[in-house]
Assembly symmetry: C2
Homo-oligomer: 307 residues x 2
């Protein structure tokens, strides 16, 4: 199997765009034909509602985009039923040829970080057998715990040909609170120091495409910061957030790309999957809405990259 970064480049070339569909299971926003007639909200009903809705979305976007991004929080809020649905969703996406980014924002120290890496990227030994848990192609992690907290994930990426996106500059207003703080030693923002660590971790994992499997999460809502980070991390894949519902457009996202139009993927979740507004739409109308939203995003992002 190729390195994650090379598989991602291949998928972007094949689909002709760098758009990622986010899967945020929100049962209250799903169409009635998926949720109705389920009886009591049992674990089975929850797992099945979420899995069924995502299969509709996955059937619609497979072949259109290179990857999907399940947001683990929205699964986890449904407890074990939600985590069963996450497992179903990851499998269903891979079966349809889509790369999977588990947006988990996990991290911890030493052997605990190893356990999270095993959970989403690697394997765990059980009675002498190696088992996969949530078998994504890549995941997101947070950096605050230090460089050594990233290394178990980097090792899992190297061993299992998986990818990592380290949270660097987020799209929310509060991303200014700590990420932007200027350091005494350099006069530069904290996030640039973290970018250095991402660069160092990523260098041994640069693939044939010239891109590393160790990337960064950057919000398109702060395009000036994104532009500087793009320059600091020429070989990192950037997972661009904040597109759509958080206000960023294709032009904002474009600054996260290299001049060759490669090196970033742009994610949108609710703007793709829950924009139809009318809960009583039938299956074909919901699928048509998901497809139209995806095509509109692709046009916006690829259009901005051509300029």
């Amino acid at each position: 199997m190729k390195a994650f970064s090379d598989r991602l480049v291949d998928a972007i070339r094949k689909t002709g765009n760098p758009c990622v569909v986010g899967l945020d299971p929100r049962i209250d926003l799903m169409p009635a034909f998926v949720t109705s007639g389920r009886g009591a909200p049992t674990a089975d009903a929850i797992r099945s509602v979420i899995s069924d809705f995502h299969e509709l979305v996955l059937d619609t976007v497979a072949g259109l985009v290179p990857a999907v991004k399940p947001q683990v929080a929205f699964f986890e809020q449904h407890g074990t039923a939600g985590m069963l649905a996450l497992d179903n969703t990851i499998r269903a996406a891979k079966q349809r040829g889509l790369l999977v980014i588990a947006d988990a924002k996990r991290n911890d120290i030493s052997s605990t970080a190893e356990a999270y890496a095993a959970a989403f990227l690697g394997e765990t030994d059980v009675f002498g057998q190696q088992q996969k848990a949530f078998d994504a192609d890549s995941m997101t992690v947070t950096p605050y715990l230090g460089r050594d907290s990233l290394l178990p994930f980097v090792a899992a990426c190297a061993k299992h040909k998986k990818g990592l996106f380290v949270v660097l500059k987020t799209s929310n207003p509060g991303s200014r609170d700590f990420q932007d703080l200027e350091l005494r030693a350099t006069g530069r923002p904290l996030y640039e120091k973290i970018a250095e660590a991402i660069k160092d971790c990523g260098e041994p994992l640069v693939g044939e495409s010239g891109y590393s499997s160790i990337g960064a999460v950057i919000g398109a809502t702060f395009p000036e910061d994104a532009k500087r980070l793009r320059a600091l991390l020429p070989r990192a894949f950037i997972l661009v957030t904040g597109y759509g519902s958080q206000g960023a457009c294709g032009r904002d996202a474009a600054v996260c790309f290299n001049t060759d139009g490669m090196g970033a993927i742009v994610s949108s979740s609710r703007g793709i999957t829950y924009s139809y507004g009318r809960a009583d739409l039938a299956r074909p109308a919901v699928a048509a809405s998901v497809r139209e939203n995806t095509l509109r995003m692709i046009e916006d992002v690829t259009g901005a990259l051509k300029k």
Copy 2:
């Protein structure tokens, strides 16, 4: 129900110590009588091995310590089977009168942070019914995403009388990499700026005990930093990590307490649950080892607090 901080103070007074037993399911370290004869490593076998071992530990430490701390990573590495075991373990601990700290180190932005808060502290609406997911008494979160990322957790704590421990200064060597960086504006470490945010978030949640339900995670492996943070956060409960296997002792942990001997809890995991070394020990011998390790830790920590 009382505020989390007041319930924690009550439990510490009742048991006479601030020690927390960490539950890190490591099947490879569990005694043979728990793991053997299970046949294939099916989801059912994994869930049952982890749940059975934890029931032994919980039966042993109930009444001895105020709280237990399941480390979610070690459950999650076993996928959905592990998360079922987490649910079992949380329920079993609460049934035995132990407070539960879900060591999850989650976080994200806006409605995604709300979903994580719902997953561990609150409720999620399903078909008009409010359901709990992993119903812990408190959880750990990371701060890098900013103040606004903490607010949904603080709101859940206020509404559901739960507690939060924000990762502040961790016990690993890499905690120096970013947490200790001096800021240009203040000449002080980044972690002090984050401590300010924890203090601000925690003020509205100070209970009758004088302690807030919004606390901090601080490693006892850096006692000088811990001492300064204790002074900056007089009303925060500190979850002290790094005790035991990471080298910190009762004297190191003692600097995390206020002069009244209250305001912190000290966690130890593998040093309590997996120190017996011999996989072929029978159930009573394993229980005796867990009990002895717990009593030794209690003596060390309470002894250091008396000095």
